[in-house]
Symmetry: C2
Subunit: 498 residues, 2 copies
């Protein structure tokens, strides 16, 4: 059979994978937004079944055959990268014995529901035995996959290929030092914002109307997407022509919905603007968790929490908001939405304390995987670090070590990508502002230039480029946490008159 | 391997089928309710792919093995019926050569979009060549499947197993004669209802509030379902714990939403109340289109269009309805929602003219499949029959032969089940009213007794019983159109004072 025909068969197999992926994504979206309660149990099994079918294709002999035959014979760049991606998935998955993989999948499902119970009851001991097993499996898998310096690197690779413990241990302490020193200054400031002006009854439908308007202005395409309500906001791509966002409405505090929607809108713009040539390949999605987060955080922080944004959107906001906002001056409003205040819950943290939450989780999971600490000691260690880094101690494990779902799904190595995404976004911001007067276009409320810049430099590539390749190609330098520090210093010095 | 282990493997295969089915149903539901426009194209391919996978299992060697081994060795009644169902599906599907099946699936997809275009443009000639091919394939398939008397029986079997052309040709003319004679009398009546009292601006959210309330009273379980809005209302069962209904709101005329919701609610009650032992088998769904329709029509007509229903629900209705209904007396209202008036569109037809729409379609498709008429002559023949049976001629093919989607999907033999369902419902009604004072419980607004009766006699069985088996077991007689005629005679004699 000649290469052309083999490529054709290979593309059919890729399309099958894409079909399974869409069915799985839809099942997840529905489970988080629309499913009636009694449908959940059966649905979990459907998702498990479809995921297994996808996994079977990824690790099939057929896949191996295509990889071997096409690897060196194709000239097409997309095909080359596709093969690379498939090969990596094939190799990594094949290294895990089938029996262990099945046991692990069962453990994941079970652990998630146990974690939920443990969190609700603020009882870590319920979750502990499951977490111990999850850590053990991840250590085993990390050894199967292999690593150079640190076993944790093997896990990091799943979420941020190319980034290692060495990189993180270089940038994180530097970042922490700067953030802590900045926070100390802020604590001593006598010019603090008053966030109490932000609360008050704000009906859901008005928050929704404003959120939809902002999404439209960002360039989110509602003909290829939709906005729904969930407990935990997310963006999900069924394919680039069907990218859905969700948000959460708190009628007492609009910040969750407004900044949450902008954040998820940033993720969605990434997926909607991937090059259409990549459709039906495994490259048709964001290249890593970190780069994805760089896009959502760019919109949330550099746009949404920017004074220029409120200069152009405060009137629109007030037209939807409760009457008392009429008496809140723009400057007070802007400073209030940027209040820095150590808090227990990561996803509710402000721009400045956010990275500290991530570092705590990173340090703990790295130590866990390296066998330096024990699962049973996590609650104590978590509280100790919270106290050291943020100066506060969670009232219970519910607001502490049990708050996030990730570990219950066995996702170790995921957290750093949140802080990385933040640093990426600041580094991209630094380059972008040399080319575009960002504040000016934001003040005008015209986001086309910004979105086009992001599409040209980031979105379009999907997985054609690795995370650090994107950062280095665009910014002409390696990962550099100084840009984030500089941005925060400048912004918060002004807000707190430091 | 002993039978126990083989049964276990077989059950796993059935579960895989159920998973594919749920994924397909969810994809369909989403396509009709939530999907953004640009997602449709890709989604159609996903549905096609998943359907093919399901079809592969149904016709697999593995399936054949299980059928052969388990057929005579199992004592369990559910397992026996499951095997029978699987065998029938296997045999029927295997009779169609793979290549022809694939071509046919492609033709179906294409034809549906062409039909939509043809309908929008009221241009039958666009659709004609596709319909010709669809008829040819159905003739071929009918011959593969085999039949005794009439080739059309082989198609009828797909939707109403056990019912034949012979039965239909016996009951339909009888029914038509009675209906036509009743209509003649109605036309001559001087005591006609005034339906104009029913119209006026009725906001969607108020119609929705009333519809939801009625569904709840019917016993539709919202913890295992949900109500959404669509262009074409439907009920869909992902599994018995996730049965969703949709409705359409016309703000000028509430009848579409209210009677449509009750109708779909009737379908949904059937699926929600199938015995839980049948979960994950192919028996866990309605036994035929006709029996399904008997349930939806029972609720729509014998409950929803019943005077007793409005005696107990008119106050509730008025609390949601526009103010002018305060001035419409109950009796005028009741008579207005039961107005008989020949109309072009089947799904908007009244109780009395509805079966005539079905008979026209039945007569035409039977003649088509028997080669007695040609596709190109359909528009003329349709209009001729409309004129003969209903005394009106559609202004264009859009309101005529092109109005229904079924033929574009190759569904020949489907239409009779609508009229059969109607006759079934009247026959069930006749038996039920001998055991239960239906008007009394409806007047009380307590539907539990009714729903329990339907569950006990119909719902619970799923596909454990064939359609006519259900009718004969419950009513102790064969299909008898007299019950429908008697019901209509009595009801409309009173409304029109004949």
């Amino acid at each position: 059979m000649d290469t052309y025909l083999i490529e054709k068969d290979f593309k059919n197999l890729l399309k099958e994978q894409a079909s399974y992926r869409e069915a799985i994504m839809l099942a997840h979206w529905d489970m988080s937004t629309k499913i009636p309660k009694n449908g959940i149990e059966q649905r979990s099994e459907v998702v498990g079944f479809l995921s297994e079918k996808l996994h079977q294709i990824e690790t099939s002999e057929k896949m191996k055959y295509f990889i071997d035959v096409l690897k060196d014979s194709t000239e097409n760049e997309v095909m080359k990268k596709t093969i690379e991606e498939c090969e990596e998935t094939y190799e990594r998955n094949r290294k895990i014995p089938n029996q262990e993989f099945k046991e692990y999948v069962m453990l994941q499902t079970k652990s998630e529901s146990i974690w939920q119970e443990a969190r609700e009851n603020a009882d870590f001991s319920l979750f502990q035995p499951y977490l111990e097993q999850l850590v053990d499996y991840n250590k085993k898998f990390a050894n199967y996959w292999g690593y150079e310096d640190n076993i944790y690197d093997a896990l990091l690779h799943n979420f941020e290929p190319g980034v290692t413990t060495k990189t993180l241990d270089h940038v994180f302490p530097e970042l922490r030092k700067s953030l802590t020193s900045l926070m100390d200054k802020i604590n001593g400031s006598t010019h603090k914002p008053d966030a109490s002006v932000l609360t008050g009854h704000f009906p859901k439908k008005d928050q929704e109307a404003f959120s939809v308007e902002v999404l439209k202005r960002m360039g989110y395409n509602f003909t290829s997407g939709r906005l729904d309500e969930t407990v935990h906001p997310f963006a999900i791509a069924l394919n680039r022509n069907d990218v859905r966002v969700t948000t959460r409405y708190d009628e007492k505090d609009f910040r969750m919905a407004v900044f949450g929607t902008i954040h998820e809108g940033g993720h969605a713009l990434y997926e909607q603007n991937i090059n259409s040539e990549l459709i039906n390949t495994p490259l048709a999605t964001g290249t890593s968790m970190g780069i994805h987060e760089s896009q959502s955080l760019f919109w949330e922080n550099f746009v949404g929490r920017n004074k220029a944004f409120w200069e152009s959107h405060y009137e629109l906001f007030k037209s939807h908001a409760p009457a008392h906002f009429q008496n809140v001056p723009l400057d007070d409003f802007y400073r209030a939405v940027n209040e820095v205040k150590p808090s227990f819950i990561r996803i509710e943290a402000d721009e400045l304390t956010y990275p500290l939450h991530i570092m705590i989780r990173y340090e703990l999971e790295k130590a866990l995987i390296n066998g330096e600490i024990k699962v049973k000691d996590l609650p104590g260690l978590w509280n100790e670090k919270m106290n050291n880094y943020l100066g506060i101690t969670p009232p219970s494990d519910k607001e502490g070590v049990l708050q996030d779902i990730h570990w219950s799904g066995g996702d170790f190595g995921y957290f750093p990508s949140y802080a990385l995404g933040y640093m990426y976004s600041a580094q991209l911001h630094n380059t972008l502002t040399q080319e575009i007067n960002l504040d000016e276009i934001i003040t005008k409320g015209d986001f086309n230039q910004l979105r086009n810049w992001l599409t040209k430099n980031v979105h379009q590539y999907g997985k054609m480029k690795k995370p650090l390749e994107i950062i280095e190609d665009v910014t002409k330098e390696k990962l550099n946490p100084e840009h984030l520090v500089n941005y925060l210093m400048k912004k918060y010095s002004s807000i707190y008159q430091l």
